[in-house]
Every structure is written in C-alpha cells, then in structure tokens.
Symmetry: C2
C-alpha cells in the first residue's frame, strides 16, 4: 500500500500489528476512526492505555483483575472450597457467562505442551498446589481443552494433588447440545458412549 | 460476556465498537495487547490519537493529508493537468499502489446515491468543477465503481464539465486479469465485447 499521509500510514501499521488484522482491515478501521468524534476516539485510546497501565493478575487465582485480589476471589458469596482450573482468562469469561458456576478459579496461563516448549514450570501450577491446604479446598474441577495437552496437564496436576483429601473432577465431554451424531469425531462419540448417563439423570438436569 | 475486570470490559467494549469487530474478536485483541510491552501499546494508542488530532483533508483534492496541501498535490513531478476522480481515500491508495498513475486526484467523498440520501451537494463536486479552469486541466479520468450509482455520478459531473475543452475518460471495465469468462456476469461480458480492443494494442500494453 502506498500512502500519501504518514499519519494515516502509522495508524494503519499499528492496527495491522494486531493478530488477525491485515492491512486492508486496518485501513478500514482507521478510516472509521477518522470519521468519529474526537471524544469517541479519545475514549477508545484512553480505555486501552488505562487498561494496559492498571491491569494486574490476581495474587490468588492469576485471573486478570483491577485490584490485587480479583472480584471473584474477594466475593464472599462464592463457594471458597471449590477451584475450577482453566487455561486462560477467556475460559473464565466463558464459564462466568453461563452463570452456572459459583466457586473460585485458578488460571494456569496455558497448558503443558512440550512441542511448544511449555512445561509445568511456565504455568501457575505451584501456586495452585499451595492453595489447596491454605483454602481447605474440597473439590478441584478441571475445565481444560479436550486435547492431548489438556489431558497431560490434568494428569500432571492430579499426581501433585494426590496427597490431599480432594474430589477431582473434569467437565463433561460429549456430543455438543444441538450437535449431530454423524458429524461428531470418533473419539468424542466413543467417549460419550463409554461415559453414558442414566436417562433419569439427564432429564432432571434439563428441568 | 461476564467480565471480572472493568478495565478489561471497557477496553473490549471500545474495540467492539469498531466495524466488523465482534465481542470475541475484541477480547482476543485486548488480551493480545495485555501481553505486549507498555511501550508497544503506547505506540499504538499514540499513533491513533495523533492521527485523529492532526489529520486533515487536502484543500485542493480532498484527499487525506498531513498538511494543508497533500503531498500528491504538492509534488511538482506529477502531471498537473490530469485529475483522476475517485470515491474515497481507499481508492487513492489502491491506484497509488499500482504506481501506474502520475497525475492528480479529486476525492468526491462518496457517490450519488438517492436511496442512501446522498445527492451531489453532499459530495465534493463543486470544488472539482472549480479546479478545471484554475488548473487548466486537460483530462478528467473517472475511476468510480462500475455500478448504477457510479455511472449516475459520472453522468452528472460530465454534464457540468461539458463547457470545458476536456478529455473525459473512465477506467477500462471488462474481464479481470486471470478471471474466467464463464464466471463473469452478463453485463460485464457484454460490455467487454462491445468495448473490444485491437489485439496489437493489447499486446503492446502487455510489453
């Protein structure tokens, strides 16, 4: 692209550094901002700048937070003895959006993936282990991706937790609601048959 | 989406105001920025803020510019007597990127489209008409979208220009390079047959 304005060019190049944003999309976004009120553009840049400067990671659960302790950890109405272990912040947002979970979280910051050079030491696993006796945790729920890496991570952490009197669970895996059997992969279909549930149970969950 | 951080939520909401950016994409972009250095994020927000504050429209051709007169209009090595009429800044960038055009531009800021409430008065047509005698223009090239609105706009402006001794042209329309005949729409194919060119001419253009 050949620009006749370096102000425009700089802004487009900055947008194009974002993942999944090409030069053409970047140009479209910048031209959109040019048409907006100065105030709206200031809101945009200030929200990002402020977020970047002030955001931190919760000292307890490693979730993204405005304060030292995130507002999930500091909420006394949440069950303090259940920890849901997730890979990243996106997963916390996804689970919170279901409004079905009322315990605490622990954000690992990734999953064990030797091929990508990510071992247990790069993840927030030690802090998780420490929390168990400190918080008298009674259940740890793994909500990790149903992949080999996810399973490896569960296996690794489960071993470390074996000395504590804990219930260790994982979220149910199976055919997605509304999904069609014929399009499910064999692994998922095989697992969902071996993990079949009594119909009574299923119906009462749907009530 | 349920956020546990209002700093994160604000930044995501601001990104999601951009056209074509949904909440999930916005979250992905914001989480990317969180992982970047403070300095990189400052470059991003400053480039946008500076662009928004300082950018203007060229007083002659209405192109986006860093200065009163854009650097195409103020470049003495460009042909001063040819004006290429385009709809918007994106089209200037597209044509400049071909490096095949060495004249000036005039950015209309849209095309005549009564259904969208855009008439000639909302466009930079009067300033274009004024330029013709002032700049002793010898040729006006229309590079507008090959749509009914584009053709209407050409027709309207052409009428206004009829009193000047001008060559008025439009960019060639036809089958795109690499395009297959069978997938071309009837209108394009019909026009490209009626506007057929001598093969000699075509071959010499390809040299």
């Amino acid at each position: 692209m050949v620009f006749s304005s370096s102000l425009l060019e700089n802004a487009v190049n900055e947008f194009a550094k974002l993942p999944g944003i090409g030069k053409k999309t970047a140009l479209r976004l910048v031209l959109h901002l040019i048409k907006q009120d100065n105030e709206d553009v200031s809101h945009f840049t200030e929200a990002i700048q402020k977020m970047k400067e002030q955001i931190r990671f919760c000292s307890r659960c490693n979730n993204i937070s405005d304060t030292t302790l995130c507002n999930i950890c500091s909420n006394p109405s949440r069950k303090q003895d259940i920890i849901c272990v997730v890979e990243n912040v996106r997963d916390v947002i996804a689970i919170e959006s279901t409004q079905q979970y009322n315990g605490l979280y622990h954000v690992l910051g990734g999953i064990i993936s030797p091929l990508d050079g990510i071992g247990p030491d790069q993840l927030s696993i030690e802090p998780l282990i420490k929390r168990i006796p400190e918080e008298s945790t009674s259940e740890v729920i793994f909500a990790l991706s149903p992949t080999i890496q996810g399973d490896t991570t569960i296996y690794y952490i489960q071993k470390k937790l074996s000395s504590y009197p804990l219930r260790i669970t994982t979220i149910a895996r199976g055919i997605a609601f509304g999904g069609e059997l014929e399009y499910a992969d064999e692994m998922t279909l095989a697992r969902s048959i071996s993990n079949r549930q009594p119909v009574d149970n299923y119906m009462s969950n749907n009530k």
